[in-house]
């Protein structure tokens, strides 16, 4: 459907419904449930320079309307990923966006460079909100506008593909971080990543997640994601991919109205593996019923009370 098409950086997506990194594998795991080509884009699980085993178990816990995860970026490393996973992307029309994480700033540049020549990789989503070890203050990159700026530039320098910077909501002022990414050359922003949280098993007095703190996702964080999208929409000009708790097409509409140019489904994939395509269908019906001409007509269309 023509009306649903959106442009993110250099990419024209068939519709504004993407998958959130880490919740959709590389897409093939969902082949029994849906036709990947019906999606706007597939954003694949986070990749690092070296292979990683991830964190000890338990890695997830359920919370009210949400879940915590501390998978710890288990992945085969970028080289094996390029060799084994990327060729499969060519079977599809849908663009594949690769999510990258670094432990040092320079790794982001190296990752972007390695992916630059890989056919089938349409764009790069830069996860600056991963738990990192080598950073100066032990803070994650996404909390420091200068680090975000440097990483964005580094990736930008190493690739002509669409560059999306994925931000954390866990900052004092997300507008500052968003501006830093925009000014450094990001094509688009993804927000939000998970919010760090803790859950305690009162029987054993242990954290429900072995590495203590995990990232909160799911419907519980939807209001926070929406607020971030709204704040950033009013700050930057580049498109925003909104996410956090999207399970239905109404959730997707909330994000579009709050300022998102496109949306991504994360935890929703676990609750219903077909939620992405159901959201696409829901949007189609909504667009027809309400005679919406294009997604831009919805993006940021929040009607304020004093208007």
């Amino acid at each position: 459907m023509e009306q649903l098409k959106v442009k993110i950086g250099k990419l024209i997506l068939e519709n504004p419904v993407l998958t959130a990194s880490g919740t959709f594998g590389t897409g093939e795991e969902f082949e029994d449930f849906l036709d990947l080509d019906k999606l706007g884009a597939v954003v694949v699980k986070g990749i690092t320079l070296k292979p990683r085993d991830g964190n000890p178990l338990p890695r997830i816990a359920e919370t009210p309307s949400g879940m915590l995860n501390a998978i710890g970026l288990q992945n085969p490393g970028v080289d094996i990923f390029i060799k084994e996973k990327c060729p499969v992307f060519l079977k599809y029309k849908v663009p594949f966006i690769v999510n990258i994480s670094g432990y040092e700033e320079k790794e982001y540049g190296l990752l972007a460079k390695k992916l630059e020549t890989v056919a089938g990789v349409a764009g790069i989503e830069v996860n600056v909100s991963c738990p990192n070890v080598n950073y100066r203050h032990g803070m994650i990159f996404a909390k420091d506008p200068l680090a975000v700026s440097r990483i964005t530039r580094l990736v930008r320098k190493n690739t002509k593909k669409t560059v999306i910077i994925k931000l954390s909501p866990e900052v004092s002022d997300i507008k500052v971080i968003a501006r830093a990414a925009e000014e450094a050359g990001a094509d688009a922003l993804s927000l939000i990543n998970t919010i760090s949280g803790l859950a305690v098993d009162v029987e054993t007095r242990r954290p429900k997640i072995a590495s203590i703190i995990g990232g909160l996702s799911g419907p519980a964080v939807k209001p926070i994601g929406l607020r971030c999208v709204w704040q950033v929409y009013n700050t930057v000009k580049i498109p925003i991919i909104g996410m956090g708790g999207i399970c239905t097409y109404e959730d997707a509409l909330e994000y579009l109205i709050a300022g998102a140019a496109a949306v991504a489904v994360g935890t929703g994939n676990f609750l219903d593996p077909q939620s992405t395509v159901k959201i696409v269908d829901g949007l189609k019906k909504y667009f027809i019923l309400n005679k919406i001409k294009n997604v831009a007509q919805l993006t940021g269309s929040l009607r304020l009370f004093n208007n």
Binding site: G25, D32, S65, N69, I71, T267
Partner: protein, 255 residues
């Protein structure tokens, strides 16, 4: 092919002190399913609890699947309240089940707690395949033993109130030492600690042993990586897609 469907409940009843038994009309999933595979079930329509609950296939007909479950927390509490005729969201068949094509004539089924759940479907298949079956059912105490429908049952209780007193592996060792007809294989399901002990017994007697593991599962379809399990050969497996049934020798225990 994995199927995501709405399914009608045929019945749902308490069958023992600890267990409930739910029969679900699931023609498409049942057709493809094999013992050791599992389903994930949405226990609430309100979104709370959020995640689906994994449940082993307990019995299998051509149109229906039964599960046997213990009421532990919020999800199973809601499951317990579901009535005949109501509908649930079900995903399945998930994972890899037991491999019954290996050479053996006697099967030693070993179930601790609700670990017996998947062994019933396996039992029924092996009966059809004319295998000899020994079923070792272990629990803490007599009144928690559930062995409905199993044959060749040997009970073991930790407090000695029924069958052999002690851990289930004691009963297993006894069975291994006994006069087994032809080559034997062990099929086990239960808590990690028990499975590790069973694997030890299997190794001691040189018997092939398949274990069905249980981990917290976020997705059940291989994408969230919450169910990782370390392998002897190095690397990690996902219990939900690479398992839940593994050859006991593949697993790197204690990590």
């Amino acid at each position: 092919m994995k199927i995501n469907t709405t399914a009608r409940i045929i019945y749902n009843k308490q069958v023992s002190n600890e267990y409930w038994n739910m029969k679900i009309y699931l023609p498409q999933i049942a057709k493809q399913a094999s013992p050791g595979q599992f389903l994930t079930i949405q226990t609430s329509k309100t979104g709370s609890p959020l995640l689906r609950r994994p449940m082993s296939i307990h019995k299998l007909t051509s149109t229906s699947i039964e599960i046997l479950y213990k009421v532990r927390g919020r999800g199973t509490n809601l499951l317990m309240q579901v009535k005949k005729g109501e509908e649930l969201q079900v995903l399945g068949p998930l994972g890899h089940g037991f491999d019954t094509d290996i050479p053996f004539t006697t099967a030693i089924l070993t179930g601790g707690g609700y670990g017996i759940a998947p062994l019933k479907a396996l039992h029924d298949l092996l009966k059809k395949k004319k295998k000899n079956i020994i079923t070792i059912v272990g629990a803490r105490t007599a009144k928690l033993i559930y062995k409905e429908g199993f044959t060749g049952v040997r009970v073991s209780t930790e407090d000695g109130t029924a069958g052999i007193k002690g851990l289930l592996t004691k009963a297993l060792e006894k069975a291994c030492c006994s006069n087994l007809k032809g080559p034997a294989a062990i099929f086990a399901c239960g808590p990690d600690k028990m499975l590790q002990a069973v694997a030890g017994v299997a190794a001691k007697y040189g018997l092939p042993c398949q274990v069905s593991l249980e981990k917290m599962m976020g997705c059940g379809i291989g994408v969230c990586l919450s169910c990782a399990c370390r392998l002897e050969k190095g690397g990690l497996a996902r219990v939900c897609v690479d398992g839940p049934v593994f050859d006991a020798k593949e697993i790197k225990w204690n990590n």
